[in-house]
Symmetry: C2
């Protein structure tokens, strides 16, 4: 199996992190190609201390690529992924465009790595708010089916891209001086405010972001009996999503059992000592790959309920890291090899 | 019935608002007295355009007072309320100190006004996070018992007093310049962060703030069968608490029915048009008395579930306004008269 890899959308906020992850994790490759839109094509970037010229994201760019990680918006993915697949390039797509298609596995390596075996050229990485939640659900699900999840999110502005970050900093600076900021990424001021809408109105009063948490969770576990009630909220935090999660399981699970299950799980770090003021926060979870879990306790409103607090870097595990982990699985050949998918 | 009234803690953040509310709502009184600690006693404040000298909060201050609104910390209430009660002054206490005592009614006028009839000199006003939630629960509860509530809060720094406000502004200014701020009200940075702890570790992994939401809700409805699972979180918002609330009712209630029930309820304003980006936010709920409700929808994870988003000014309805409303009920004589309680 050859390992000629490419990054599509290499200059975006997540694309930059994908490059970092590939360097740090010493991802194996023969050749590496960086692709982006006209605006960035021709520019020089550094990778592993060497200069690379960014190439234009066009059909022919995939002529000699075996594996591509796509860090682009949905509409760009809709266009470029078919170019790649036609040329037998396997694409790990971080966009939302292909996630719910039947022939596209939706993969979180800690949860359903085996799903990549069935890929037809495209493997999707889930929405950031879903990814950290399913990582947290997995060890519980393994010992007792999860019947229901109630989740309220506290999502960072980095999820709305570079414009979201600029809105937070610019909006906050101006708010402190009683000045108006012209918000680009948000329909309402995010400085010193919370906005209970992420995405568009989608389904029976739920937003598109919320329905991703419902549908993607069911697809990743391959279990449509898991019922999810999400409320997705933007908070004035720069990076790292937090989630208040309640799960109802088939059999009761104690806080102590849950803590042991979390502690034994790859990709999870337990940070949990309320009396000492110790729990995960965006502030302490930045620039890390793990999903951090704390405030683990029995749901006092339901015998089979368990509730906890979960924080993760939405740009890393929520996007770049998960995609690179999928790519690592692919090149490892453990479940399916790059280029043997047809 | 005479109406010689006093405000204890008249110079604090909530005390200031109590004064404002008494002015705005044209609260009836014969005499008005402002009481505070040594630090403020002797200072002059304005009320209805007239100068008033703040008097020292001491036992003798209650000799000729019929009704006192107390806006003090718990430890101050523990000391002064007995002085008042001994002198037959009825106290509306906003502190947490007396709330759960059997002989003290805990009152939200929209929910259980009749409870004041049983007072023995003290009527307590609930915790801010409880108050807005029970106002929202009330119209639902009236048509179908509520069996369970799952709530995650997004609480403003004003709930931590003036020091909390200063921490938010000072911490944010410094964070924008990569400087350290010495936080006084919070154990962790609140600038661009969320803190999943309010109050101390109290009961089976829940904080004192969370257990207030459980126990106070049951007491206000007089119904210990209402199960509440709360997660209380501080967010970098200056004022107004937000809550993501899910209620499970005895019979299913549609979103449409819930909307009508909310709209017909005093103290509630429905702000709900997701497609148009319309819902309550801290930003738009400041300096108002109502509880604002939006994102009203069926819980898609449970047949008898209903979920919504609720925002209210925690210093007004969450504290000052509710106390003044209780005082209004008292002087109206509708349920119990001031001075006739013994």
């Amino acid at each position: 199996m050859r390992k000629r890899i490419a990054i599509a959308g290499a200059t975006g906020a997540v694309g930059r992190l994908v490059r970092q992850m590939l360097e740090q994790r010493e991802f194996p490759y023969e050749t590496i190609t960086f692709l982006a839109s006209k605006r960035s094509a021709g520019k020089i970037i550094q990778f592993k201390g060497e200069d690379h010229t960014i190439k234009l994201l066009e059909p022919e760019a995939f002529n000699e690529i075996d594996l591509c990680i796509g860090s682009t918006p949905d509409e760009v993915a809709a266009e470029f992924v078919p170019w790649a697949v036609e040329r037998e390039t396997v694409v790990v797509d971080e966009s939302g465009f292909h996630r719910m298609l039947d022939h596209v596995p939706l993969v979180v390596p800690e949860v359903n790595p085996e799903a990549i075996a069935n890929h037809k050229g495209i493997i999707a990485s889930p929405n950031c708010s879903t990814t950290q939640m399913v990582v947290a659900m997995k060890p519980i699900y393994d010992v007792s089916k999860i019947k229901r999840v109630v989740v309220s999110t506290y999502q960072a502005t980095s999820g709305a891209g570079v414009a979201g970050q600029e809105d937070l900093v610019g909006g906050t600076r101006n708010a402190l001086e009683n000045k108006i900021w012209d918000y680009q990424a948000f329909a309402h001021p995010i400085a010193f405010n919370v906005i209970p809408q992420i995405g568009s109105s989608k389904h029976e009063g739920y937003t598109s972001e919320e329905m991703k948490m419902v549908w993607e969770t069911q697809k990743i576990f391959g279990d449509e009996s898991i019922q999810v009630c999400p409320t997705c909220v933007r908070v004035p935090v720069s990076n790292c999503h937090s989630e208040s999660i309640l799960v109802e399981t088939e059999r009761p699970i104690s806080a102590e059992e849950a803590r042991q299950l979390f502690e034994a799980s790859p990709g999870i770090t337990v940070v949990d000592d309320l009396a000492a003021g110790v729990y995960p926060m965006p502030h302490t979870s930045d620039d890390q790959d793990d999903v951090f879990i704390g405030r683990i306790r029995k749901d006092i409103s339901c015998e089979n309920g368990l509730t906890f607090w979960c924080v993760s870097d939405n740009l890393r595990k929520g996007a770049a890291t998960n995609a690179v982990q999928i790519a690592e699985l692919l090149v490892s050949g453990r479940y399916a090899s790059c280029g043997t998918s047809s």
